[in-house]
């Protein structure tokens, strides 16, 4: 089993790791770095619970190999709050009760963050398109849409 050295920036911090060729980014985050905010829901790219930002783009971290992130930037849910201050989206998810069991929430927040970064004032259809790959069984999605719209009205995610 071959092991590869990689250098990756995770939530703004440089990390140097040796990873097996078959290790996924999701496994690396959870099992190597104890960044367990990113969730494992299916390991097949179908539920979106493991969504992280890779160079600013939302990806299913279960479908990305750890070796692929060498030299790149990863942001997880743990990287959304800055110095203990919640992001606008995090605050809005709390205020709109857009959280129930919370298992989809990290992926939802990451996909929403990516959406607002590329489209600061998305309409409802744009929100639905951006979150189509993030499954939620609790909320019925409506509060999540409201939370994102609220942040968008206030000038985008901070």
């Amino acid at each position: 089993m071959s092991v590869h050295p990689i250098a990756v920036t995770i939530n703004g911090k440089a990390e140097y790791l040796e990873v097996p060729a078959h290790m996924t980014l999701l496994q690396m985050l959870r099992d190597r770095l104890a960044l367990t905010g990113t969730k494992n829901g299916c390991e097949a790219g179908e539920c979106g619970a493991c969504t992280v930002l890779l160079d600013g783009q939302p990806v299913n971290s279960c479908l990305v190999l750890a070796v692929e992130v060498d030299g790149r930037q990863v942001v997880t849910v743990e990287g959304l709050a800055q110095d203990g201050t919640l992001s606008g989206l995090q605050q809005a998810f709390i205020e709109h009760n857009a959280v129930q069991c919370g298992f989809c929430t990290p992926g939802m927040l990451i996909s929403s963050q990516a959406l607002l970064a590329r489209n600061p004032s998305p309409d409802e259809d744009a929100i639905k398109e951006a979150l189509l790959g993030n499954l939620c069984r609790c909320t019925g999605y409506g509060r999540i849409i409201q939370a994102i719209q609220d942040v968008a009205r206030g000038g985008g995610a901070s």
Binding site: T36, G41, E46, V99, G102, C136, T139
Partner: protein, 774 residues
């Protein structure tokens, strides 16, 4: 009490900050260090087969493999109401995916490889998948030893058949009533098995220490029930088995009772001193945890020419799966509530749970009620049409009402279902039938109502503890779980209100841990706000009394003149004020510091219903069948594309009588999420091939509602008719919110298309074919 400060307010969720930052810990997030081993299960490829031989020698020879556990290691049966399975299949596999052996290894990859090396010799048996076929006398017998199984006294298996429960309801005389009916509608309705699909798959980590102490960390709705059942099955003293249940990533009943957790404990016993992690893949989650049971329902209902219901005869056949340990009580609940929320003077009901070679049927949100309402609510619409009455008016006339005698002979506790009907018909603009948005589209509206009682043993208990810290923040200890429904928030509100402290001062002691948390039966049955709410209120009331007694003595006043307001004891009489800080731990000095009084304040409380009575085996009649019912109504406005069969739900309006909304916005989030869950459930099915092998055990082929599938508008209304023994009158609503969504959609489809659908799942293809023929 004049004016509530926290109860009835939509305070923000107590768990939300942890959940938006990634700090909330779920079972798979716990770190166990390098000593952690991993388990994989060896599963039967056959739906029904004798196990002739299990040979683990090749698996054990693989480097990194530590143990292989089989049915011979776990011969003692396990089950909640009916002990009808072993942790690993002993001599017979009863479904595709039945666990036959468990492999423990140093990594998940090695465990998976080793699982493939375990050689199992089977002798295939004929299998049966449909409950109506399985109930026939010549059907293959799935549990030949049924007569030997231990069972609770209110469940009635029939040895020598595949029937694990038969509930009989007999009231009045249906035969005499049919000739008096002006309209009679009869139908057969079918629902497939469906899955809970929590986003978090099941995971369990077990550690069996050399001392005999056993710990189980798992995503669980039922840590105490798991402790009880696993302790019994594996011969562990209850005091030595500790179940720790961190946050649950969605349950919906799928994490109630015991499923794969017991296997993790049995596997840990084989490698004492090492924690063993067992987690389900998404495929296993679909077929090897539990499912909502299938149902075939034969329903006949009649009314007179004034639209008064006269008679109802039903036979419910639940496809209970390979073991029915929990599911038997679903059939029972469907039996004692078999009329749906209606007053019917003459009733003949038979509800069966039937073994089938399919995934294990167990609790799922609604617990039998979505299944039976699917048919009942469509027939009520048909009857209304036949006697030319508006379906809403038909329901107002016939629905259950406070104080009236219902089918079991019990008096209906206080509810207002008519108010719920009024709310949703108003919200959906029932009287108006606007045109469709395009010539090839048809628009329709539909209505459905529901009831559901907490389905449980007569005496499930709850308990709670309240402990003060020096700064007067409060730790509330409960054994109930927050599955996302908001239980921790609501219980914190109840503690704050009772104690007279700000909500922000309350902490819920998590994770739930059977070693430290007070006893709780299970987080099921929508019983937490009511039952645990009462226990927390009692515990907080106990602490409050203790505080008031100390301060009253200190002030030489009567405790009856004192209250706690906003974190300080106040006297109405002397207008003195004593902050809770410090005194709740250190007490107060006597006059002139001649000694001290009081000390650390700990309050305890419990709640257990004591009034539920036995029901007659032959008739289902009794004084008090259940603790109470929650009722509600839903109305749907939808549009169908006749060229594609696609349905767009424009609006779902819901109203439920929750007695008292402790947190109104959290009630609304249940209503909204439940409407989408209910809509989704109408399109879901676990599909099996002719050999009982799953065809769609993944999230692409088994679709749940995505963000693109939701109605344009979801409206919720809250009705508050106080429940006699609920905290501030509150009763539960978590499950009810999806019970009648599918029949409301079916009724709206009929309104739009003039076509009835008796079988779920719905699909665009099915609707298209119904419109255009084959």
């Amino acid at each position: 009490m004049s004016g509530l400060s926290t109860v009835g307010k939509s305070v923000l969720r107590i768990d939300a900050h942890d959940k938006v930052t990634g700090a909330a810990v779920y079972a798979d997030d716990l770190q166990f260090g390098p000593g952690l081993y991993y388990g994989r299960l060896v599963r039967s490829p056959h739906a029904h087969a004798l196990i002739i031989k299990v040979d683990a020698s090749r698996a054990l020879a693989l480097p990194g493999v530590k143990a292989v556990v089989t049915g011979r290691d776990t011969p003692t049966r396990i089950g909640l109401y009916l002990k009808d399975r072993t942790i690993f299949a002993l001599d017979r596999a009863r479904m595709v995916g039945d666990p036959v052996a468990g492999v423990v290894a140093t990594s998940e990859e090695i465990a998976e490889e080793a699982a493939r090396l375990v050689e199992v010799k089977y002798e295939e048996l004929p299998a049966v998948f449909d409950p109506v076929v399985a109930i026939q006398p010549d059907a293959p017998l799935i549990h030949p030893d049924l007569g030997e199984y231990e069972v609770v006294p209110f469940i009635f298996p029939q040895p020598g058949t595949n029937i694990s429960e038969h509930f009989k309801l007999r009231r009045g005389d249906v035969e005499a009533a049919w000739p008096r009916c002006a309209a009679i509608i009869e139908g057969t309705f079918r629902l497939p098995p469906i899955q809970h699909v929590p986003i978090e798959p099941h995971v369990a980590v077990a550690l069996w220490e050399l001392s005999g102490q056993v710990s189980l960390w798992t995503c669980s709705q039922s840590p105490f029930a798991q402790r009880d059942l696993i302790a019994q099955s594996l011969g562990i003293p209850h005091g030595n088995l500790r179940v720790i249940a961190p946050y649950v990533g969605g349950g919906f009943g799928g994490k109630a009772g015991v499923s794969m957790e017991a296997a993790a404990v049995a596997m840990a016993r084989a490698v004492k001193g090492h924690p063993v992690k067992l987690r389900m893949t998404r495929e296993e989650e679909f077929i090897c945890t539990t499912a909502r049971q299938s149902l075939v329902a034969n329903i006949m209902i009649g009314c007179d020419d004034q639209a008064n219901l006269l008679a109802m005869e039903v036979a419910y056949y639940f496809g209970g799966g390979s073991s029915n340990e929990y599911g038997v009580n679903i059939a029972r609940a469907a039996g004692y509530s078999c009329t749906g929320p209606y007053l019917v003077p003459n009733v003949k009901g038979d509800s069966y749970c039937v073994y089938t070679n399919t995934p294990i049927g167990s609790a799922m949100r609604g617990f039998g009620m979505p299944e039976i309402h699917w048919g009942i609510e469509q027939i009520m619409d048909q009857l209304a049409e036949k006697v030319a009455m508006d379906p809403a008016e038909f329901r107002r006339r016939n629905c259950v009402k406070t104080g009236r005698t219902i089918l079991t002979g019990m008096e209906m506790p206080a509810i207002d279902l008519v108010a719920c009907i009024d709310k949703v018909t108003q919200a959906i603009q029932w009287e108006k039938r606007p045109p469709a948005s395009a010539p090839h589209k048809k628009r329709g509206k539909g209505l459905a109502i529901m009831w559901k009682a907490p389905a449980m043993p007569p005496n499930p208990g709850s308990s709670a503890m309240v402990r003060f810290n020096e700064d007067a923040t409060v730790n509330v200890e409960i054994g109930a779980q927050d599955l996302g429904q908001g239980a921790f928030t609501v219980l914190a509100q109840i503690a704050a209100e009772t104690l007279g402290v700000p909500y922000e001062w309350v902490r819920i002691s998590v994770p739930v841990d059977t070693k430290y948390s007070p006893y709780e039966w299970q987080t099921v049955a929508s019983r937490i706000t009511w039952s645990v709410g009462n226990a927390v209120r009692a515990a907080a009331g106990d602490a409050r009394q203790k505080i008031l007694a100390v301060v009253a003595e200190h002030w030489h006043e009567d405790p009856a003149d004192l209250d706690i307001r906003d974190g300080a004891v106040v006297s109405f009489k002397s207008e003195r004020e004593q902050p809770l800080q410090n005194m709740v731990v250190y007490g107060l000095p006597n006059d002139d510091f001649e000694g001290w009084k009081g000390g650390p304040v700990v309050g305890s409380g419990k709640f257990m219903p004591t009034y539920v009575t036995n029901l007659d085996f032959e008739t289902g009649q009794g004084t008090r069948a259940v603790v109470h019912y929650t009722v509600g109504a839903q109305a749907v406005d939808l549009e169908v594309d006749t060229e594609t069969g696609q349905v767009e739900v424009l609006k779902i309006a819901s109203a439920y009588d929750v007695g008292k909304a402790i947190n109104p916005d959290l009630v609304l989030t249940q209503i909204e999420g439940g409407a989408v869950h209910g809509l989704s459930s109408a399109y879901e099915a676990i599909r099996l091939d002719a050999q009982g092998r799953p065809l769609n055990a993944n999230l692409v082929d088994y679709r749940i509602a995505t963000i693109a599938d939701i109605p344009r508008e979801i409206h919720g209304d809250i009705v508050e008719t106080p429940l006699e023994d609920g905290p501030w009158g509150a009763r539960g609503v978590g499950e009810h919110v999806m019970v009648q969504t599918a029949p409301a959609i079916a009724n709206a489809l009929y309104d739009a298309l003039g076509v009835r659908f008796s079988e779920l799942p719905l699909s665009a293809e099915k609707i298209f074919m119904a419109l255009h023929g084959s």
